[in-house]
């Protein structure tokens, strides 16, 4: 039974009768008209219609995905002043998507290399890519890597890495509950539920301070059953942009380790949050340094701008190399019946860049300039609201980190901004700073001001 309440145990009897009717008379049987979906649809290809009632009659229309649906709505809008602050995809100051120069260079090399082939990758993906990805997140000198305790598999960006990790845990881990922060990325609960885990929430965001509710977080994780899985955003929390400080991370780490909870990091913004790859990996590295186990889902969608190529990796840091070998073998059993082996193009681009020191350096420079532009948008928006005297404390705009700002606007205010100002954003008040430019900041500030000051 799915949440829409639809269960298609289709009335086979209706179909049988309708088939019988067809055999007898060659016309549409009377029963069929009782099907609310029934319409006379002439079939030019056959004298008689196969079966007047469809097996799909009871399938309901699924709602548009709340995040990706924002772009769908934006595309439909004809207004010249529309702004898309929905999905987290970077835009230049000119409002255009960006393909990094270093990515174009890497692609040139790959496409023009006559020795390249398109043979199936191993189930676990491109070996080079896996090694380089583990080094990127854990640090090249990480003892876990040097001791061969990390099982890394290439997956389909962050989503795929989380899904494969979730499925693995549901099969092989004794605790089937995962704690995820309140709020979190909209797709997280669906991924883990479909993986076979049961989802619980821990307090995270404090709407009064617009910061971290550390007390609530620690309380909720303390009362979690020992061994339960805990999802942590490595940096640039989505949707709030509120990250723990290093001190707070240490608190969290101690609690997690003392309760033997299993950390599962979602790292989708390494390098994008602060501009520094190493700084943005500190939370993950802190946990690995204490010798304990964890999972990490990595995505290159944002930090290398490889969104549509679906490149990412799942790493499981284990206690011993022996366990890592066995874990990897079981990850293959999850992957093979899902999509057999991962796509080669994006992973090859990543490997080409990470393994070459020149290209790596170029990448870090381009990455930093993306992060810097976002930070400057934050400042501009904050200043614009201050200029307008918009009521309220808007300092969270410059305190929050990463691509998103949790404005604190409610769904009514959001709906108003969409309707009157053609601002497209998710109804939870999240805006993608990456979608802003100096040109559009004033318009957004006007919209926020109007939404906040209008009488109800």
């Amino acid at each position: 039974m799915d949440e829409m309440g639809v269960r298609c145990s289709f009335p086979v009897a209706v179909r049988r009768l309708s088939t019988l009717g067809r055999h007898l008379s060659g016309h549409f049987p009377a029963m069929a008209s009782e099907n609310p979906n029934f319409t006379i649809s002439p079939s030019p290809t056959a004298g008689t219609y196969g079966s007047a009632a469809s097996v799909f009659a009871c399938i309901a229309q699924a709602p548009e995905d709340p995040i990706l649906g924002v772009t769908v709505a934006y595309n439909k809008d004809q207004s010249p002043v529309k702004v898309n602050l929905g999905v987290g995809a970077y835009r230049t100051e000119e409002g255009k998507p960006l393909v990094l120069n270093v990515v174009r260079k890497a692609e040139q090399l790959l496409v023009n290399d006559p020795s390249r082939v398109k043979e199936y990758l191993p189930i676990t993906g491109l070996a080079d890519f896996n090694k380089l990805s583990a080094k990127l997140i854990f640090g090249a000198d990480s003892p876990a890597i040097q001791e061969n305790r990390v099982a890394t598999v290439q997956c389909l960006s962050g989503t795929g890495s989380l899904r494969v990790g979730g499925e693995f845990l549901a099969r092989h881990y004794h605790e089937r509950t995962i704690y995820i922060p309140q709020p979190t990325w909209g797709n997280h609960p669906k991924i883990f539920t479909l993986s076979g885990l049961s989802v619980k929430y821990y307090r995270y965001y404090d709407s009064e301070t617009r910061g971290l509710n550390l007390q609530g977080l620690l309380e909720d994780l303390s009362s979690a059953s020992p061994g339960a899985i805990v999802l942590l955003h490595a940096c640039a929390h989505n949707p709030t942009g509120v990250d723990p400080t290093l001190e707070q991370w240490e608190h969290i780490r101690q609690l997690i380790r003392s309760k033997s909870l299993l950390p599962f990091f979602d790292s989708a913004y390494q390098g994008f949050a602060s501009g520094s790859l190493d700084a943005d990996a500190r939370s993950v590295r802190m946990f690995v340094a204490d010798g304990g186990e964890c999972l990490t889902a990595q995505s290159y969608a944002k930090n290398m701008g490889l969104y549509g190529e679906r490149v990412g990796a799942l790493s499981i840091v284990c206690r011993s190399s022996d366990v890592a070998v066995r874990v990897e073998s079981q990850l293959k059993l999850v992957i093979r019946p899902m999509y057999s082996n991962p796509p080669i193009h994006g992973a090859s681009i990543v490997a080409t860049i990470l393994k070459d020191s020149e290209k790596f350096k170029e990448w870090t420079i381009e990455l930093k300039s993306m992060a810097d532009r976002i930070i400057s948008m934050r400042k501009q928006l904050f200043d614009a609201l201050r200029e307008r005297g918009t009521p309220g404390d808007w300092s969270h705009i410059i305190k929050q980190i990463g691509m998103f700002t949790f404005t604190g606007l409610n769904s009514e205010q959001v709906a108003f901004m969409t309707k009157e100002y053609h601002i497209y954003m998710t109804s939870d008040g999240r805006i993608s700073m990456a979608g802003l430019s100096s040109r559009t900041v004033p318009h957004l500030a006007d919209a926020i001001h109007a939404a906040v000051t209008r009488s109800n």
Binding site: R16, T45, V55, Q61, K118, Y120, L194, P226, D290
Partner: protein
């Protein structure tokens, strides 16, 4: 390590915990482990992890994939005469992987255009979905013109099958899938992981090394009404034995009678006979009868795009409104699996299949590939007939179609092929002719004859 010291201070040693695990069984052992974590010991642990045992200690080493594992074993073999007839990947006469010229042209075009790497919609690239449905059903097919087909770009054949399986599990929870005996090894894994029950219908007749047509019809008839019947559109894998057009009509009759839902796996369109239209005729026959059906499509072999993971799931519905709703639900299942599909392979297909010149060139390259495979069949047949003095009829090799041949060798005989002759193949007696060159046919014939007659 700090934790070892902690352990010697009174916690159970990892060895003792492992002992308990073995004695009491894994689950009980874990409970023992948990006791030690929850008891007095956890109070002492602030900085380090409680015990030195991995929480994945009980994870067993999975066996290598029966098909993909063959290539791994082949790589490890140092013999000069080794031959890889395992996975179905096309090789040239020189036994080299082959990237189609049209694919290289398309990639160069894409590079010149400098397209962006934005997320595709969840259902994939629109241009790809359009040409893919047209390729399969025929551009002028009424089902396309009436909007009755839901097409969703997926991760090649495997991904398409898995998405459909997830859909079946959710919306047809009482339904079973009927699989041919034998079938592609991964089919069962896919439906198992999707939690869709399956059973088998007779297919291969070892006495004739041909189709057990009566058995097939009987078993399909005996299944519960409304079952999904998995059919290989052409070039049955692993046997290479396809029904004749007359037999397809009779299969359709039984399916209609039982209100079953046909579910085609089309991984070799164009590769079986060399003609795209001929190879799609089974699917088109069923569609012309007005049946609702599923088709999983792959471009791995016919466009040589193996590692790009490009394919589609198509659902032919009775009404366009149903197709819209079905598509929306497929999207809902894809989002928590990988969010949206990879763009690169989709663009290649859209460029090749959507451009008349490149499409024409593609057809020629495909005829060459299918032609080479047919020539190799002929040569192998000739060699076997010459060398086999017993007068056994090897003509089944000529009658079989596509990339594979079911030799009729059993497991022990197949192992002999590998161990004695360094011929790598799957244990069910399947060889990939795409991995065979004319010059190696004689050697292979010797190996087959030796294994068939001298090993039981």
């Amino acid at each position: 390590m700090a934790s070892s010291t902690m352990l010697s201070a009174g916690l159970a040693s990892p060895a003792a915990l492992r002992e308990n695990t073995k004695k009491l069984g894994a689950a009980a052992g874990r409970r023992v482990g948990e006791f030690f974590l929850n008891g007095k010991c956890s109070g002492r642990v602030k900085m380090a992890v409680a015990v030195n045992v991995s929480r994945f200690e009980d994870v067993t080493l999975a066996p290598p994939d029966p098909i993909l594992g063959v290539s791994e074993a082949f790589k490890a073999d140092t013999s000069d005469v080794k031959l890889n007839l395992g996975v179905g990947a096309y090789r040239t006469e020189e036994l080299q992987p082959y990237v189609l010229n049209v694919v290289k042209k398309a990639e160069k075009l894409m590079l010149e255009r400098g397209e962006n790497k934005e997320y595709l919609p969840i259902e994939g690239l629109a241009a790809f979905n359009k040409v893919t449905a047209e390729l399969l059903f025929g551009a002028d097919n009424p089902v396309i013109q009436l909007g009755r087909v839901a097409t969703v770009q997926s991760l090649s054949g495997t991904g398409s099958l898995r998405l459909a399986a997830a859909f079946i599990q959710r919306y047809f929870p009482e339904a079973k899938v009927l699989l041919s005996s034998p079938t592609w090894g991964n089919h069962k894994n896919i439906f198992n992981d999707a939690r869709v029950p399956w059973s088998e219908y007779r297919y291969y007749d070892p006495r004739t090394v041909g189709l057990d047509f009566e058995g097939m019809l009987e078993d399909i008839k005996a299944a519960q009404d409304g079952s999904f019947v998995l059919l290989h559109g052409c070039a049955h894998n692993p046997t290479g034995i396809d029904p004749t057009p007359e037999q397809w009509e009779k299969i359709a009759d039984v399916i209609e009678e039982k209100n079953h839902i046909p579910f085609f796996d089309v991984a070799y369109q164009g590769f079986a006979s060399g003609s795209l239209d001929v190879d799609a005729s089974s699917v088109r026959t069923f569609v012309a009868r007005g049946l609702e059906l599923f088709v999983a499509q792959s471009y791995s072999k016919n466009l040589g795009l193996y590692a790009e993971r490009i394919g589609a799931i198509n659902v032919v519905c009775s009404f366009p409104d149903d197709a819209t709703r079905v598509k929306s639900q497929l999207k809902r299942l894809a989002r928590p699996m990988y969010s949206n599909p990879p763009v690169h392979g989709a663009r290649i297909v859209a460029n090749v299949v959507g451009d008349p010149t490149l499409f024409g060139e593609w057809k020629q390259e495909m005829e060459l590939m299918a032609g080479r495979t047919k020539n190799v069949r002929q040569r192998l047949f000739e060699n076997l007939s010459e060398k086999d003095e017993s007068g056994k009829d090897w003509s089944f090799i000529l009658k079989q179609i596509g990339m594979f041949s079911y030799t009729g060798l059993n497991k022990a005989q197949s192992e002999n092929m590998t161990n004695k002759w360094h011929v790598y193949m799957t244990k069910d007696g399947r060889i990939s002719l795409a991995g065979l060159s004319l010059s190696k046919c004689e050697y292979l014939a010797d190996a087959i004859i030796d294994s068939f007659y001298n090993v039981s």
